[in-house]
């Protein structure tokens, strides 16, 4: 899982914002520098051109006005205006001519440049709308030259000078604009810091809210699973790799340990159903408040969904943890007021210890969950995780995974154990017992897989499978000349299968087997689960002609009146009463009662688990007529059973 709290801090956010601010500042500065430079040069050139125009006009006027020796006058003026020490020009060419007059002055300009410039100028002057006063600029050898023509009646003057504005502008840009840029940058830097911190603070507050939403439960305000896992990941150095790397460090540090509690409210569903969901929510709020008050700041309480809470107690030992668990159970047992009614919710708590039980969070939660489940089953309030349980659990999980394959490939076989008449040893029927031929675990007995089938939701499929196999076996034996009823064991869940009766009758019809050849054995305790519904169904089977038997009579919780209603054909006394019956007068008394009961109900009575001749003899004396057990025969495969049936053997075979 990605560490969620990383979400809160985007370390590069501020950095990126600052880079963006600087970038913008740089761009703006660059644009301003370029534009201002061009503006300054344009303005300068314009001003220079205007002044050149005026100067040239002045020269022209002076020429016109000059009475004697205009050439000398011109030279004097040009020297004064252009070639002085303080504002003299770098490069200059002046030409003046008229009637009987031709004068020119060259200053730092080569004749080649002059002729080139003059040629270009001539071209432009002809295009000029006001050719008598034409002016313009021209770039030559990387320098900008300004030129001006003034043409009067008598004289024409051409002035060419190099523009100074570019250098001046560059100089100014270097000074002022660079400092302006520094100031802009300075402002931008502070803006960046301000903006970035302001924005990242806003983003962070949003992120915090999101993180809170993601890591907290809305109803109770407690942290949720995500938060818990994140927090625990920080607390426990779970991977062996990091352990190795930080070996020196961790040996110095105190060893990390802690306990995880899974709390499940026992009556939450009932409260929800009885008082509605708002009452259920209220209950959760009250209980969670109470729990957090009890736990204080030291431990972390999280709600991980429904009515399940997890407590992570850092740095406590198992002994302290059991005390805490007891305390929490007591807290949950205190009644809660819901709709002015005191509701006693009760809770089951499972405890697991880090690192003895598991070293990663998921397994730790799983361990505590298993412990909690067992505590709930045993109604002990709380339970500590037991390593042995996981092994059983693991095997169960594996069997559960293998179940589909076993059903598909018919790996679950039926074995048959004869039921005999005690006096004669004649076989009156066989009981079909399931055996799972597991590829790795060998032959498994029903005790180790029936409840897996019941929990996996394939119980009806399995029930039908058993019914079909038994009927097919009956048909086969009938063809071979053996007419012996088969009894099958059905789970109460099978009797909830509405189609089972029709399914069975259809099969019996298809295979041409009489219904009274099939017997259904009901486990007494199972038949007491949903008496009304099941007795109705059972009677339907009975009406169809199928025989009924009560299995494991004497154990379980069904009432005697119920047995009287059921009208069964056979009562099978549980093996626990047969074991040691010859020495235990109390067991004899029970069997005697059962015999009387069977006589009064006009029902056959069969003793299960007969292992010795002494037991068989005693049972016969007491009036029990039928028996079943290892003394006569163990459960065996269909083929062997068939052989015994066909020889019409009398049991036990000596």
């Amino acid at each position: 899982m990605p560490p969620l709290l990383e979400l809160q801090r985007d370390k590069f956010f501020r950095f990126r914002l600052m880079i963006i601010c600087f970038g913008v500042a740089f761009l703006v500065s660059a644009i301003y520098v370029i534009v201002s430079y061009r503006l300054a040069t344009d303005l300068g050139i314009k001003a220079e051109q205007v002044s050149l125009h005026r100067q040239t006009m002045l020269l022209h006027a002076e020429l016109v006005e000059a009475d004697n020796d205009p050439q000398e006058r011109l030279t004097e003026l040009v020297e004064l205006i252009y070639l002085n020490d303080h504002i003299g020009v770098q490069k200059l060419y002046i030409e003046a001519y008229g009637k009987d007059f031709d004068w020119s002055l060259t200053h730092n300009i080569t004749p080649q440049q002059t002729s080139t410039l003059k040629n270009r100028m001539e071209n432009k002057v002809t295009q000029h709308h006001h050719s008598a006063m034409a002016s313009g600029t021209d770039t030559l050898d990387g320098e900008l030259f300004l030129w001006q023509v003034v043409e009067g009646q008598d004289y024409k003057i051409i002035t060419i000078e190099v523009a100074e504005s570019l250098n001046v502008a560059l100089n100014l840009v270097a000074k002022r604009l660079s400092i302006t840029s520094i100031i802009v940058f300075w402002i931008a830097a502070w803006m960046a810091i301000l903006l970035s911190s302001w924005m990242s603070r806003r983003v962070q507050s949003k992120n915090n809210a999101l993180a809170k939403l993601a890591t907290y439960d809305q109803l109770t305000g407690l942290p949720n699973r995500l938060y818990l896992i994140d927090m625990m990941q920080k607390n426990m150095p779970e991977t062996p790799k990091s352990d190795r790397l930080t070996f020196k460090k961790s040996s110095l540090k105190k060893e990390v340990q802690g306990c995880l509690f899974v709390i499940d409210l026992d009556k939450f569903k009932e409260v929800n159903d009885a008082f509605g969901h708002s009452a259920g929510d209220e209950l959760l709020r009250k209980v969670s408040r109470r729990l957090s008050v009890t736990l204080g700041e030291q431990y972390t309480l999280a709600r991980i969904g429904g009515d399940e809470f997890i407590v992570w107690a850092n740095d406590i030992e198992i002994k302290q943890a059991t005390n805490l668990a007891k305390e929490l159970v007591a807290v949950c047992n205190e009644p809660v007021m819901i709709n002015q009614l005191a509701v006693n919710t009760g809770a089951s708590i499972g405890v697991s210890h880090y690192p003895t039980h598991a070293t990663d969070i998921e397994s730790l939660i799983l361990c505590a969950d298993i412990a909690m489940y067992e505590a709930k089953q045993a109604r002990t309030g709380w339970g500590l995780f037991n390593v042995r349980d996981t092994e059983i659990n693991r095997q169960r999980l594996r069997l559960r995974a293998d179940l589909s394959e076993a059903l598909l490939e018919q790996k679950i076989h039926l074995y048959y154990q004869p039921k005999v008449m005690l006096h004669t040893g004649k076989i009156i029927g066989v009981e079909a017992l399931a055996r799972w031929h597991h590829p790795t675990d060998g032959v498994l007995y029903p005790g180790s897989f029936i409840d897996i089938i019941e929990q996996s939701g394939r119980v009806q499929e399995f029930g039908r499978y058993v019914v079909r196999t038994a009927i097919m076996q009956l048909a086969e034996w009938q063809r071979q000349g053996a007419f012996t009823p088969i009894a099958i064991n059905l789970s109460p869940y099978n009797l909830l299968d509405l189609g089972l009766l029709n399914f069975t009758l259809q099969l019996l019809d298809d295979f041409n087997v009489s219904p009274d050849m099939l017997e259904i054995e009901l486990v007494e305790s199972s038949t007491s689960i949903n008496i009304e519904q099941i007795s109705y169904r059972i009677n339907k089977f009975k009406e169809a002609g199928i025989k009924l038997a009560i299995d494991d009579f004497g154990t379980g919780m069904s009432s005697l009146s119920y047995i009287s209603n059921l009208n069964v054909d056979l009562i099978k006394i549980d093996r626990s009463f047969i074991d040691g019956v010859d020495k235990d007068p109390k067991k004899q008394a029970i069997i005697f009662t059962a015999v009387t009961l069977a006589q009064s109900f006009d029902t056959k009575l069969l003793a299960e688990g007969i292992e010795t001749k002494a037991q068989a003899d005693l049972l016969m004396q007491m009036g029990c007529r039928y028996g079943q057990g290892y003394y006569y025969a163990k459960p065996m495969q269909a083929k062997q059973m068939k052989n015994i049936l066909l020889t019409k053997a009398v049991l036990p075979i000596k």
């Binding site: 000074k175 002022r176 302006t180 970035s196 911190s197």
Partner: protein, 71 residues
């Protein structure tokens, strides 16, 4: 007004402040631009103020502090 500047930060600001104001005062007509001069003086003065008070308003608003060494 809690201090939020590290001594190094203060020294840096001091150097910047003094050199900027010094430049404005003794640039010998280099700048020829009063607006820039005023801006530079403000810039320098702010730096000097934060040098003296060892507190920077922008840091305050931005929630930055160089007072303690960064993690």
């Amino acid at each position: 007004m809690e201090k939020n500047l590290h001594p190094l930060d203060r020294i840096l600001r001091g150097i910047i402040g003094v050199s900027v104001i010094g430049f404005v005062l003794f640039n010998d007509g280099y700048l020829e631009e009063p607006v820039l001069e005023i801006l530079l003086i403000i810039f320098g003065a702010l730096n000097l103020i934060s040098l003296i008070s060892s507190w920077c308003p922008i840091y305050q608003i931005a929630g930055i502090s160089t007072c303690k060494a960064k993690k």
